[in-house]
């Protein structure tokens, strides 16, 4: 898709379309929600853990540079890390930096990563907070700069730095801001609880974001069965007297919370492959991000805590917490009564898109929305993988309208050009194809592997291009040096030849002079 042709977003009529349920995306699944079990108790802050482990890699992008040294005292909300293109990282507590070292992180690789370990002093002393004064009159640039300084990233799970998304939005003329509250994965309920309990803050955040983007309207998309949420949000909208914000419901067909799927369900428009929602004049933010924006801009508080769901049959008392970033999962599990007997697997995220971790020592990060503890009875026995029978079920449920069976075979046989052509990069790894496959082929695992291989191949091609250029550059340089050497040699040879000629001429004339002298001398003797 040529990006230049997408520069000017088409104005979209949303007024009658939004929430009218006339639109839907391709495929998807109806799943059992299992959300109620974790929504029974109000959200509380867990007790302060003994140690907080703040990873330096919390965003899409590079690892942050730590600002602090071991032994240094930090205040709550003090910035402790930064990497230029991504968002800042702040200390979640006041205390002392115990270590800067590699620690287990919640990452699909299971590899440890660089972390700042902080021992809280229990005093909860805040750094001086600098909110944006009179944000209603502040310039969008000021708001976006504040969002950047407060370390905001998409809290839906992709953790793309919010300020970068907003800046892109500013440049592309956004007419509609969509707040995504349609948490589609089973079990996860942190956004639902946030919308119930902090609806005012979300609406405030929506207004700040709207001002920063210059958008005309805001749609808050929620799942259909969220009655309590709708009540809370509508009340807050009324309180805020903001007519441009509306709450819309989307039919709960997984993955309706995916950015592209949500846009399609709301507007009927498809985000072009390789493009972004801003190509259509839309921008999507998670509701939790909006609440964090309100905290950042209106109160000046950096992002140091988030809502997280602890749920599943493996947790004795499933619930939601407002946890400080850096709190170890084990601490949260203990705070809700520990594990039940049959716990067999820990999953970060939901059952469809999450990944399992080996140890609960890993800390809560900006991306953590759910810790799901599954028991043996929850996990289906591993079924032997059978050959693909070409039933086409996977293509029927794929929300990205791909052909998973083709992609699977192409990845397996290494036909990377075709994989590219068939649009693997558009796969959102929602797991629908996996779920319906009668042959139990782990399709999403294959697609994740395929994406990694494609990235690797792109890097290799880049490296070989560089090597080719360097090699050719060296060859031409060597040739030039050789030529110069040759020229120098010939010049020298010529010079020597000239000198030899000159010398021989001199010798000749000396000889001649001597012989003449000898002749005259001889004649003199003779006389």
């Amino acid at each position: 898709m040529n990006r230049a042709t997408l520069k000017k977003p088409q104005p979209v009529e949303l007024a009658h379309e939004a929430g009218s349920r006339s639109h839907h995306f391709h495929g998807g699944l109806r799943l059992r929600h299992n959300k109620t079990i974790s929504c029974l108790d109000p959200v509380v802050r867990p007790p302060l853990p003994e140690l907080l482990v703040v990873p330096l890699l919390q965003h899409a992008g590079d690892v942050a540079e730590p600002f602090v040294r071991v032994g240094e005292r930090v205040l709550k909300g003090q910035q402790i890390g930064q990497c230029q293109p991504c968002a800042a990282i702040h200390s979640p507590v006041s205390g002392r930096v115990e270590a800067l070292e590699n620690r287990p992180m919640s990452h699909p690789s299971g590899q440890p990563g660089p972390c700042v370990v902080i021992r809280p002093d229990g005093l909860e002393r805040w750094v001086e907070l600098k909110p944006v004064r009179l944000w209603e009159n502040a310039s969008p640039e000021t708001l976006i700069a504040k969002i950047r300084d407060c370390g905001l990233a998409g809290l839906g799970g992709a953790v793309f730095p919010t300020h970068a998304k907003m800046r892109d939005g500013r440049n592309r003329k956004i007419h509609t801001l969509i707040l995504n509250g349609s948490e589609c994965e089973p079990y996860i309920s942190c956004d639902e609880m946030l919308m119930r309990e902090q609806a005012d803050k979300i609406i405030l955040g929506a207004r700040v974001l709207r001002r920063a983007l210059g958008a005309e309207r805001v749609l808050i998309a929620i799942g259909d069965p969220m009655e309590a949420v709708q009540k809370a949000l509508t009340r807050s909208v009324k309180l805020a007297e903001c007519k441009s914000i509306s709450v819309v419901k989307v039919t709960p067909i997984y993955p309706e919370g995916g950015e592209r799927q949500l846009i399609q369900a709301l507007t009927g428009l498809e985000v072009p492959a390789g493009g972004r929602p801003s190509d259509l004049g839309l921008i999507c933010q998670n509701v939790a991000t909006a609440a964090a924006v309100a905290d950042a801009v209106v109160e000046g508080r950096p992002l140091i805590e988030r809502y997280i769901t602890l749920t599943g049959n493996g947790i004795s008392h499933p619930r939601n917490f407002q946890a400080l970033l850096g709190t170890p999962y084990s601490h949260l599990v203990a705070a809700c009564g520990g594990y039940t007997n049959g716990v067999a697997r820990l999953v970060i995220g939901g059952p469809m898109m999450g990944y399992s971790i080996a140890s609960d020592e890993a800390p809560v990060v900006k991306a953590s929305n759910c810790l799901l503890a599954l028991t043996r009875s929850d996990i289906a026995d591993p079924q032997p993988e059978m050959p693909c029978i070409r039933c086409g079920e996977c293509a029927r449920v794929c929300p990205a309208m791909l052909l998973p069976q083709q992609l699977h075979l192409q990845i397996r046989t290494g036909l990377w050009d075709q994989v590219q052509e068939y649009g693997l990069s558009a796969c959102i790894e929602c797991g629908c194809c996996d779920y319906v496959c009668p042959s139990h082929i782990p399709l999403v695992e294959w697609f994740r592997y395929g994406k990694g291989e494609q990235r690797k191949r792109a890097l290799e091609i880049e490296a070989s291009e560089l090597a080719r250029r360097r090699f050719e550059g060296r060859e031409t340089r060597l040739l030039r040096l050789q030529q110069e050497q040759l020229e120098k040699m010939t010049r020298k040879k010529h010079a020597l030849k000239d000198k030899a000629q000159r010398d021989s001429r001199i010798r000749d004339s000396i000889a001649r002079a001597e012989s003449r002298h000898g002749e005259t001398g001889g004649s003199a003797d003779d006389t």
């Binding site: 399992s356 695992e445 090597a467 090699f471």
Partner: protein, 185 residues
């Protein structure tokens, strides 16, 4: 009859002249096949194929001097790509040229380096910086892992290291190869 013969002759001469002009004016200087072959080679410039670089090897393949199975860094995939391009049968890698090994880079041990510049002269991609009697160092991003700098080093101060995969460059494993399911306790 005469008109048709004349017309055809005229057409033939016009097209012939046109083609003749195009053959001279639009001549392609380089052999495009060499470019295509060169594009498939890994550009390690290691010389394991017996030629002083990837391009000379590409030229040799295109002349029919060399076979397509002499490039260990390209591996099986490289041989297959070459076979596809040239319409030949893929061959197993020639063991005389070496074995397929994982990608490595070299590192100069700063304590031992005496600054002789011999490795700098040996590096086919100018990935080593330094000057006479001063310490040398390898630019990791530009090192192709050809190991041509090892033999000339008089003090053996260059080590081969495998590239470590940190958390940023981590990739999902091939399904079935490693069980990515962690089971508690």
């Amino acid at each position: 009859m005469l008109i048709s013969v004349l017309a055809l002759t005229a057409l033939g001469s016009v097209f012939g002249l046109g083609l003749g002009w195009a053959a001279i004016r639009l001549r392609v200087q380089a052999d495009p096949l060499i470019e295509h072959i060169d594009a498939l080679l890994p550009q390690t410039q290691c010389g394991q194929c017996g030629y002083p670089g990837c391009r000379p090897y590409a030229e040799a393949i295109s002349n029919g001097e060399a076979d397509i199975n002499q490039c260990p860094p390209g591996g099986e995939a490289g041989i297959r790509a070459l076979a596809d391009l040239l319409g030949r049968e893929p061959l197993p890698l020639n063991p005389e040229n070496g074995e397929v090994t994982p990608k490595t880079v070299v590192v100069v041990d700063e304590q031992r380096c005496i600054g002789c510049t011999l490795c700098i002269q040996a590096c086919p991609v100018d990935a080593i910086v330094g000057a006479a009697k001063l310490m040398h160092t390898v630019i990791e991003a530009e090192c192709t892992g050809c190991n041509l700098c090892l033999p000339p080093c008089p003090v053996d101060c260059i080590d081969i290291v495998e590239l470590e995969t940190d958390i940023l460059h981590w990739r999902s494993p091939r399904p079935g190869e490693t069980q990515n399911v962690a089971v508690l306790r």
